[in-house]
Amino acid sequence: MTIDWFPLWLSLRVALVATALGVAAGISIAYLLANREFRFKDALDAAVTLPLVLPPTVLGYYLLVVIGRESPIGQIWEKMFGSPLVFTWKAAVAAAFLRSFPLLVKSSRAALENVDRSYERAARTLGASEWKLFCRVTLPLARRPIYAATALAFAQALGDFGATLMVAGNIPDRTQTMALAIYDAVEAGNGFLARVLVLVISALALIILTFANRLAPAVVKR
């Protein structure tokens, strides 16, 4: 029996793009939370944490509201690219992004706040702009926990089920990720396929977590 590996490649691609977007957005928001004082800061912090605790179906529903064909974003997308965003692999990226993004914000914020303030102060007295000191001092010093969080976020993005199902559907060879393929295999009574896919995704997650653990505890030497 041949196994269709499309869901694995799709999952990897979705998780990779979602994590890349998540890192960029996560570090930006973490920077704001760690360095700036503004109104509704606590509200922003709570809002980015929300996806961690809400049921996947709720996330999927919100996503449909935001990027569905009726929504402004969905319509702009359709005008620009000629086809709807929902029920494509790009919608799956949006779902995976939403799942992994809170973890990246939380961990990046903690990592940035953990950097000894005297390094940033030193950089300021040496004339470095805020941007330069962030790129060349704070971020490099916080990089290890951020790498670890990125690995975890990737693993999380790999396994999203509910939100993906709602915004990207379960279209074989188009939007069927690993998690959805496993569900289908079990439903169809294809025990062999289900076992293989489950083992593959577990092994993958295990490797990523081991990798993340090796990154996390290392502290920068003084």
């Binding site: 030193a122 040496l126 004339g127 470095a128 920068v220 030497k221």
Partner: protein, 356 residues
């Protein structure tokens, strides 16, 4: 030339007592030492000048630039202040080599000049051989030198040093004092140095400012502050005095004389302006101003009979602690000659006696 008038209040909170800083000083070229116990506002003063902390009121002028002005809401960013800062922990970037640390600081200079400038500083601070190493791979003294070099590379108008000798062993401290004096002679950058070490004040300070609980309690050359502490508080902070309760018995401005009673003895001193007969005062005398003598018969003029509690060996001699909490410093030879003494006398200096 730096002129700073700074007010900053941290209101009391359930978890902290609150603190207020209120100082006004100016410092010309040379090294000015901010001296005080921890929690007296020394570092807060430094941080206000560097721009890390925004004072509530006041004005900070460096040469003719306004760094901060409460009334017109001027508050320059640390980047724009041209103040070098040497941190207590050095704050060398741990992920960069020493050379990269210096290069980071040199980036404000013209591109062509940077490389030469970095090399010059590495050589000047004897760091050429270490230039490729990271801060955790070099010694404390080298880190120290590198942090001074890094602070100076952009030619700041003022150098701020926060307890820079704190983590150094005794020999390294001596070396560090030398370096700082050389830097001062060579670069002519005015410096403000924070410390709670009196020796350091004397080693380095041309002027010292004594801070206590956010206020300036005295300022002047260290020698003068030590010779004439302005009040009991300063004398306590300097930690270098015998402070003995006494009562004024007689004052004679005409002959510039006075007599004070210490315990059951009377000692003579100069006239103390501003005091009245019968005032309870504190005699303030340094341990090395007192003489310890063997007691034979009745105590003479200005002598007090005391009982020896213990003798403490010190690096430069011996400190004797007597009843009444009076300490006397003797040289080793003096002590060896007298160690068999059964009963002791202490002789007060007479003319240089001070009361607070």
């Amino acid at each position: 030339m730096i002129k700073a008038r700074i007010k900053k209040t941290f209101p009391a909170r359930p978890d902290s007592a609150g603190f207020s800083l209120d100082i006004d000083f100016s410092a010309a070229s040379g090294i000015t030492v901010l001296f005080g116990p921890s929690g007296s506002g020394k570092t807060l003063t430094l941080d206000s000048i560097a721009g890390f902390v925004r004072p509530d009121e006041g004005r900070i002028l460096l040469d003719d630039a306004i760094l901060f002005d409460g009334a017109t809401r001027v508050h320059l960013a640390p980047q724009a202040r041209q103040c070098g800062y040497v941190f207590q922990n050095y704050a060398l970037f741990p992920h960069m080599t020493l050379r990269e640390n210096l290069a980071f600081a040199a980036e404000r200079r013209p591109r062509l000049e940077r490389h030469r400038r970095v090399n010059e500083m590495l050589e000047r601070f004897r760091l050429q051989d270490m230039a490729g190493r990271r801060p955790h791979e070099v010694s404390g003294g080298q880190k120290q030198r590198c942090s001074i070099a890094r602070a100076l590379i952009g030619s700041p108008k003022l150098l701020l040093l926060d307890e820079p000798a704190q983590g150094l062993d005794a020999p390294l401290r001596v070396e560090f004092y030398d370096i700082l004096r050389q830097v001062q002679a060579e670069f002519k950058t005015p410096m403000i140095l924070v410390t709670h070490d009196l020796e350091e004040c004397f080693e380095l300070g041309e002027e010292m400012i004594v801070l206590y609980q956010g206020r300036m309690v005295q300022s002047g050359p260290p020698r003068r502050v030590l010779d004439q502490p302005a009040n009991l508080e300063v004398a306590r902070l300097l930690g270098a005095f015998n402070l003995i309760p006494a009562e004024i018995r007689m004052l004679d401005p005409g002959r510039n004389r006075s007599r004070v009673q210490v315990g059951e003895f009377e000692i003579e001193g100069p006239y103390f302006p501003g005091h009245l007969k019968g005032d309870r005062v504190t005699v303030c005398v340094r341990p090395e101003q007192l003489r310890a003598l063997p007691r034979n018969g009745r105590p003479g003029a200005n002598q007090v009979a005391v009982e020896l509690k213990r003798a403490i060996e010190r690096p430069r001699g011996v400190r004797l602690e007597f009843s009444g909490g009076i300490a006397v410093d003797l040289s080793r030879a003096d002590y060896e000659a007298q160690r068999e003494n059964k009963d002791w006398l202490i002789e007060f200096p007479g003319d240089s006696l001070r009361v607070l």
